[in-house]
Symmetry: C2
Subunit: 341 residues, 2 copies
Amino acid sequence: MTQMRKDVFSGRWVIVEESVAVRPSEFQFKPVTREAKFCPFCETNEASTPPEVFAIRPPGSRPNGPGWSVRVVPNSQPRLRIEGQLGRRGEGFHDLMNGVGAHEIIAETPRHDLALHELPPAAIADVVRAWVARILDLERDPRMRHVLIFKNHGEEAGAHTISHSISQLMALPITPRIIKSKLMTAREYFHQKERCIYCDVLQQELRDGTRMVAENPHFAVFVPFAARFPFEMTILPKAHESAFSVIKPDQVEALAHILRMALQKLDGTLGHPPFNLSLQDRPFLRPRMGYWETIDADFHWHLEILPQIVRVTGFEWASFFFYNPVPPEVAARCLAAQRCD
Amino acid sequence: MTQMRKDVFSGRWVIVEESVAVRPSEFQFKPVTREAKFCPFCETNEASTPPEVFAIRPPGSRPNGPGWSVRVVPNSQPRLRIEGQLGRRGEGFHDLMNGVGAHEIIAETPRHDLALHELPPAAIADVVRAWVARILDLERDPRMRHVLIFKNHGEEAGAHTISHSISQLMALPITPRIIKSKLMTAREYFHQKERCIYCDVLQQELRDGTRMVAENPHFAVFVPFAARFPFEMTILPKAHESAFSVIKPDQVEALAHILRMALQKLDGTLGHPPFNLSLQDRPFLRPRMGYWETIDADFHWHLEILPQIVRVTGFEWASFFFYNPVPPEVAARCLAAQRCD
């Protein structure tokens, strides 16, 4: 038997099995293979990438040399380029603009043999600091409206060309649809209640507990009520904040800990599954964004962890509807029980 | 270099390469394997499925026996069930309802060794007739709001459990988000212009020609301006019509011909790629759908063919934005030139 569940933040529906249709032990994944061939993101190979735009290095260490813990470089085959004007234009009915933006690669570690969740918490905190630094820098470019940060782990999740542990950043001249629709929902709710919908749902999840995976003083991790993917997780800061980039130093440490814990639990529960990670942040505040003037009150940034363990089929593409064979409450119970170091 | 293109029907953006980043010859697919093991959708195995709800059979042939050309049965492991009430309810902030709907399997041919595009046009016309018959029947159920018809061809597109050539039907108690957003856009356009946006774009595509793949007196096939997937195609009826189910007999024949041609061109151009096919139809007209009262004027049904030849990654999931490495104009040129029988 199934239920249809509605995601309160985006309005999309998901068909969710009421009892487990696929057991965690039925999933089989091959461990991420990291070939021994030359890798431009490894320490000492810095000359093989475009010059770095940011790095965390000990005092005295020189840009584009070894010694870094996190290093950010422009993608050498970018999907969007930093040069040029947007050139918004029409072609009859069609709207287009030049592919202007930024596309950067964050090397999360100088070592080729470690995944993000295998790094010590202090190293993950450096990755978070690199994300923040790049967002703050790109916010100064008036052409940009939004920064996406995402990670592909494992071949099936899209990490088939680069095996080094990286995340990616794209600065966009527009606000993505998913973010827009979340903003609109949050705004309508705030208009009615004068409260943030994310804060309210978080309180309910903490009280109810059946979908909670882990928490610490600054963050909570839970399986969303209408999870699209089996074992999907949301990481939400407990304090209300629309913009990721104003995160405070003690929150950075706490985020590193909880992200590491969530990813280790996922890795242990399913046996090294591929996954995507994404930051869902508010757009940059710009003039002429009138209808988002309450954005700082209504939106609430979060991270999404999306295990890629079932195939997306014609059903999803036809409808942008999802089918989840694992009840979120069962997934939460497995993840919460999973030990991590 | 890339362009950002906006899909005029749904409002989503796609990053499109201006020159070919991946050549058709670089794609490699293994042909669809059809194992010899027992298949409940093959002729003479009718007793292994739930009783048929529709079939096209010669006079004298008996239900649930051999002799059919197309046969529709309920899915034995349905994602939605036909029994029971919706039971719309809340759990605190969350909305849910019972998984009520229909989930049916359309066996497109009694033979296990043929794909949809390998059938003669008359057999494909029978598949179209089966789709229409099932929609008309399900429309009478007041709990249903929308019917999705889709097809998964090849393992990577989701056909990993059933190798017989089938399509699937799901009747839903809600209207999917993608359809809703297309309806809204079409409605706004009609409100401004008193014309259908699909009719207008079709005229422009026919005049311009650079994205056209094929046409006949009743249908046109083109690569959409903001195609999400390389070699994506849209099949649009030339005469304005919001509801697929009122298709006329000569249009059924013409649709069978053009669908066969489009799928054969795809198969030949890329060497047997996996793909999804989906019908994008208007919802059923129901009381209390006030804001869709002009639906028959604004919407225009169509089919989408979505080749599954590049991986969806964290970028797409983070943003519902797409990256297409093959310019739609190049894809259209390859497809238009491809011979078919």
